[in-house]
């Protein structure tokens, strides 16, 4: 391909990405002050859309994400709930799923503690490996045998 064609392709690819970025859902909500707005934005970035597994509320086009954004908006601007209260509100309705960080409780002990366990195991293995005595140097006959094996082709 000639350089201009490549360049045109690259530009169109970049434009496609920009278009996708611009297509993220935008709601026309008005806020009393910028503090409310930044709280709202932080909250909808924090919660996970129940329908779409790996998207947050702010990034999802799903109708349920729209409803939940409206709910968060109402809780922030009308009900004047604290961030923690809003987390509890959504968690009571949609479960731990909406929180990307699972709470530390018996069902998630394994999840949270497994990394610590893995580090401990690694340290034990490392200590064992380091403590092994250095290998004995080869005797003269072994060196000779090794040379024969390596030269054998």
């Amino acid at each position: 391909m000639s350089p201009p064609v490549v360049k045109a392709l690259l530009v169109s690819m970049i434009l496609c990405c920009a278009a996708a970025e611009g297509a993220a859902p935008v709601d026309t909500y008005t806020f009393a002050d910028t503090h409310q707005e930044s709280r709202y934005r932080a909250l909808i970035d924090e919660f996970r859309c129940p329908k779409c597994l790996n998207t947050n509320l702010s990034g999802s086009d799903a109708p349920i994400a729209m409803d939940l954004r409206r709910t968060v908006y109402r809780l922030v601007t009308v009900e004047h709930l604290e961030d923690g209260e809003i987390r509890t509100y959504l968690q009571e309705r949609y479960g731990d799923f909406v929180l990307y960080d699972p709470p530390f409780k018996p069902a998630t002990w394994a999840l949270w503690l497994a990394p610590v366990g893995f580090v401990l195991i690694s340290v034990l293995v490392l200590l064992r490996v380091l403590r092994q005595p250095p290998a004995e140097p080869l005797s003269v006959s072994e060196t000779e045998r090794l040379r024969v094996i390596l030269d054998d082709d």
Binding site: P50, K51, L53, P63, I64, D67, L68, T71, Q91, E92, R93, Y94, G95, F97
Partner: protein, 185 residues
């Protein structure tokens, strides 16, 4: 003695494969565990479908076990489910209550006229706000409540013959041990 140590990596490998295999078998990640299970059905006030001037609230669901079914005309699975709900309303005395979820009232009324109305009454949730209270994230979803309005079972997805017989009838038997519920079939 030393040789057995060589099998440790293999054992670890199979352990990881086993955990992964079991993990992927466990549940459909699209099915969220309901946060409402074992808790009281939340407070609400919504109008009736087809009768917007009449408001109903939580008290309308109390007194005896009830299956609250969230449905909409835009939901294809709800159509598949509707026949089973009609069958259930014909063969059992379980009370069915509909929640028409984010739907057009005219379309919903025509749906009930065309396909039959299995519900004792249908509540209209135009904006999905009752849905948010219930943790609904798609239709259909169904909640089985006991006479005190506690959620004893939740189903995300359609109610079919298997769900009715294996999941709902046994729970109903516990809830209404003095009332005879035919299992159908």
């Amino acid at each position: 003695m030393k040789r057995t140590g060589l099998f440790v990596p293999l054992a670890v490998f199979f352990l990881i494969v086993g955990i992964g295999f079991a993990g992927f078998q466990l549940t459909d990640p699209h099915k969220l565990p309901s946060a409402l299970l074992g808790k009281a059905f939340p407070e609400f006030t919504v109008p009736l479908l087809g009768d917007p001037d009449t408001q109903v609230d939580r008290r309308a669901l109390l007194g005896r076990p009830v299956l609250v079914n969230v449905w909409a005309t835009w939901c294809p699975t709800c159509k598949a489910e509707h026949d089973e709900l009609m069958r259930i309303s014909a063969i059992s005395d379980l009370r069915l209550v509909g929640v028409n979820y984010k739907d057009d009232a005219q379309l919903a009324l025509r749906w009930l006229a065309d396909y039959g109305d299995p519900y004792d009454f249908t509540m209209q949730d135009l904006t999905g706000s009752l849905g948010v209270e219930l943790g609904v994230y798609g239709a259909p979803e169904s909640f089985l409540l006991n006479a005190e309005g506690i959620v004893v079972y939740k189903r995300v997805g359609e109610i079919n013959r298997r769900i009715w017989e294996q999941e709902i009838v046994p729970r109903l038997a516990v809830l209404m041990d003095d009332v005879d519920v035919p299992s159908g079939g």
